[in-house]
């Protein structure tokens, strides 16, 4: 299960994009089988422009460093009020964004107005007075009426600045990951050929001249595309409109299917009762706040019957995962009604939908447009655990990253109960005078420093202000349990780290 890696590889076919630290391997090019794609038509460009982004991700293991800058080139769709829609993937860790007229080549610097990395959508706006840049273009509106079997078009800009049009046919609608493993949304899965042009990242998908989606990924082998659909774009735009962006609500449960007849009988489910078994409830999620418990059987959600696979019948799209009831149709603050079977009795649980902010997770689920929090003391590099850090060990990070850290990333309950806000660990140790003998230490979770509990990096920052008899005492969960640093020597080493060979610009980032 590597949907993220798949995304990257698929996109690499289109435009050579790379995101994050794991560079996708270039797809082997097989000239003999390259097919010339039938372009069903060419038209004058009315609403598209090129978007050129320079981006520079942070290095998660050497947290004060950034990786070398790279470029992404894609297409933007002009919406009303000179707003330009692109995928969030386009603008992640961007250092410079430029709009380029498809035919004329005129350029205009732009900035991000709103971005949602979970929904993979971003809105750009001009960074200065557009000065007629958009003249001759007309905004396009969003349409959410697509159904299975509809014919759609993808638009691409060809080298002469005109739009090449190819067709796609919607095959099914399902839920899938966009860029992050943690969030599921609906996608249109469509069949059709797409030719690889330059600037073809974030291709708009059109029906009757209206925007119905953005191309998410393309599998050239099977000629299937996943389209980030209109309803999610509309949701995003509505949320942005009030200038108080809340994001997509989430239910916060894990469930199991109830197809197993022996299991159903054990749960006391009748043949008429459908629904799924709740196997875990996320701390701080919507389900927890309205009282859903582990072991409940979810029968209905917001009036929709849930079947034993966790699907419901959507009037527009057909069978869909129940997550769309919350994700696609509701906003944060809307009412959530869940009918559960508990100890043989049906109960209706009612409450408000919420969204768990990425900042509220014990382990940072993602980091975009910022580096990880860190603090350097004497050469010891302390960090707050983040998924990007673990993922920097590659696809096999669950076995390649420091094992204890990989384990706790998936077992946060005990730490959360103990009041930890973030998980502070020693990432690595630079050899200095004060860290003599500790050079090999790394991947260790911190419990206390100078006898104070460490619940996040600010705690650590404060604890280091209070050495005893000029000595810092640092306690780890594991071997070697305790080490000591001479406070004065460590301060001297800190100064050397800033000016010396390591060029650490700042000894800490606590945001």
């Amino acid at each position: 299960m590597k949907p993220f890696a798949l995304t990257l590889t698929a996109l690499a076919l289109l435009c050579g994009l790379s995101l994050g630290e794991s560079k996708p391997k270039a797809a082997p090019k097989d000239e003999a089988t390259e097919i010339t794609v039938p372009i069903i038509g060419t038209a004058k460009n009315t609403s598209l422009m090129k978007v050129n982004v320079t981006y520079q991700p942070w290095n998660y293991r050497i947290p004060w460093q950034k990786t070398p800058p790279s470029a992404r080139r894609g297409l933007g769709v002009l919406l009303d009020n000179n707003r330009i829609l692109v995928t969030a993937q386009m603008v992640g860790d961007a250092t410079f964004i430029e709009l380029e007229q498809a035919d004329g080549g005129r350029r205009l610097p732009a900035k991000v107005k709103a971005v949602d990395y979970e929904a993979n959508l971003a809105l750009l706006e001009p960074a200065r007075d557009p000065d007629g840049f958009f003249a001759g273009l007309k905004p396009i509106s969003v349409d959410t009426s697509v159904r299975v079997n509809d014919e759609l078009q993808t638009w691409q800009i060809n080298p002469t600045g005109e739009v090449d049009i190819t067709t796609l046919k919607v095959n099914k609608v399902k839920t899938a990951h966009y860029v992050l493993d943690s969030s599921m949304f609906i996608v249109y899965e469509a069949v059709g050929l797409i030719r690889s042009e330059t600037n073809s990242f974030t291709l708009p998908v059109i029906k009757n001249g209206k925007l119905v989606g953005l191309l998410l990924r393309y599998d050239s082998k099977n000629q299937t595309t996943s389209v980030l659909p209109g309803p999610i774009i509309e949701h995003f735009l509505k949320d942005v409109a009030d200038n108080n962006y809340q994001g997509f609500p989430s239910l916060g449960v894990e469930y199991q299917q109830t197809l197993d007849t022996q299991f159903r009988e054990y749960l006391g489910m009748s043949n008429q009762q459908h629904g799924v078994y709740i196997s875990a409830v996320t701390k701080g999620g919507s389900a927890e706040s309205i009282g859903v418990k582990e072991g409940d059987i979810v029968l209905e959600m917001n009036g929709q019957k849930v079947n034993e696979r966790g699907d419901y019948k959507d009037p527009q799209f057909g069978t869909l995962n129940m997550s769309h009831i919350v994700r696609g149709k509701c906003f944060v603050g809307d009412e959530l009604k869940v009918k559960v079977l508990r100890e043989g009795k049906e109960q209706l649980l009612v409450g408000k939908l919420t969204r768990k902010n990425p900042k509220d997770f014990l382990v940072w689920p993602y980091l975009f447009d910022r580096g990880g929090n860190y603090l350097v003391m004497g050469g010891m590099i302390f960090q707050e655990l983040s998924l990007p850090y673990l993922q920097s060990f590659g696809d096999e990070w669950e076995t390649q990253a420091p094992l204890r850290l990989a384990y706790v990333a998936k077992h946060t309950d005990d730490y959360e109960k103990a009041g930890r806000k973030k998980l502070v660990y020693l990432g690595a140790t630079l050899p200095t005078k004060s860290t003599q003998g500790y050079e090999r230490l790394g991947g260790l979770i911190i419990t206390k420093v100078n006898d104070k509990d460490i619940n996040d990096l600010s705690d650590l920052n404060n604890a280091f202000k209070d050495p005893k008899d000029g000595i810092h005492k640092i306690e780890f969960e594991d071997f070697p349990k305790v080490v000591y640093l001479d406070a004065l020597t460590a301060e001297r080493d800190n100064l050397k780290l800033i000016d010396g060979v390591y060029h650490i610009g700042s000894l800490k980032r606590i945001e």
Binding site: D260, Q262, K410, I471, K473, P480, K481, Y484, D486
Partner: protein
Amino acid sequence: MKRTLFLAALASFTLPLFAADEAPVEKPKVLEAQPDPWEGIVRIEASFLIPDYRTPWEAGRPSAGSGTGWLVGKNRFITNAHVVSNSTKLVIRLTNDPEPYDAHIVHIAHDCDLAIIEADNPKPFEKLKPLELGGIPKLNTELIAVGYPVGGERMSVTRGVVSRIDFQSYSHSGIDQHLAIQVDAAINPGNSGGPVLQENKVVGIAFQGYSGSVAQNVGYMIPVPVIERFLDDIKDGHYDHYMDLAISHFAIENPAQLKALGLEDNGIGVYVSNVQSAGAAGGVLQVGDVILGIDGHPVYHNGLIKVDDQMIDMNEAVERKFVGDKLSMDIWRDAKKQTVEITLKRFLPYLTMGEQYNQKPRYVLYAGLLFQPMSRNLMEAHGIRDPLVNYVFDNYLNREIYKERPEVVVLTAVLPDEVNSYLQSYQHSIVDEVNGVKIKTLKDVDDALKKNDGDGKFIIIKLLEKNRPLVLKRELAEKAHPQIMQTYDVPAASYLGDE
């Protein structure tokens, strides 16, 4: 950096399974009357059954291999444990005698890779002279390795010097470390168990090396102190194994450590960073202690002691001792010096981490669900990738998981049948509870499956962190169970070990 066992390599590429059948028939020769100092060095041929942990009810896979042994006493041949482990038949062959002599294991010590075997009929060996043991040879002195390695049928001699004397991992168990001597004499598959001689005295037993792709001319031998300890241990007719302090230490190299701990700056003392509660030092030492001395030897900051002018791991002080022996330790606790006494015993939980031999795999099979206790053999055989099972295996010792689960029972496989059709995806999970009983050993599973929890209608198996219980309707499971055993050719529903 993996050391390959010579024997294993030999069995895989030089000795076909039934090599004996193809051996050229030679005319019997009259044994020479003149005494040969090396006539006590023999070839040992072994036939094995290697258990397959994926089908624990089967006898195992037949295989064969050979090594070297030598006479250490009256009809007593010493060799490596790995030469004779899992053997079903042993044959001793002499250099100048075509007759094969059946033999059997008398003692086997997997923790130091040594074994004693005996010929069923002692008569042919009555006149042979045992080899004599020497001492620890000096660095850069010459020695020869004698044995029956690949490359021919007859005895081979190679020559080299002592390259290094150090603590090494013994790869037979994979978890034990003892003194070993590195030599640059060519030591090849089949040399295993053979003597390494200096001035006609045995100074070591060739046992392992690095494969050619990693390093050249690196062979290891088991030195005399380890051989002597083994021979001492079995004097009472029983092997009692090595003892272990079961602690981890951390070097004191940093001036801040000295200052914080209030230690004198004299190079003495090593920090105790972990103490296994089930080990000999459990309840005596604690994290934060500093070990200053062990049986009168000062312990230096890096955890070494000085023995015979050599700096060597402080565990050497434990190595020569036996079960029940006492050890005195000077420690620094709360800025005060004190002396503690430790009564030595084995640290048993660590065996889970090592290769196991001469054991029939234990299991319980019920309604197609196969339960087995976690062990290194099991992890390798089933190729378990599940992150949780691997995490528990890796942390079994350092997080003392053995306290809660002396045996970690794993649902290793589900033999497909209609009754367990929805449970297929749950293999490679850790079993936490069966019918309300917390599972601490494999036997608990066997007992709990028979227990009627609640109304007894269902068998409920809770897996660690697998988000739903596995539920079998007892009536259906009972009916399917014998059928599944028949279909998959399983002769017995369980093997819980010899009672």
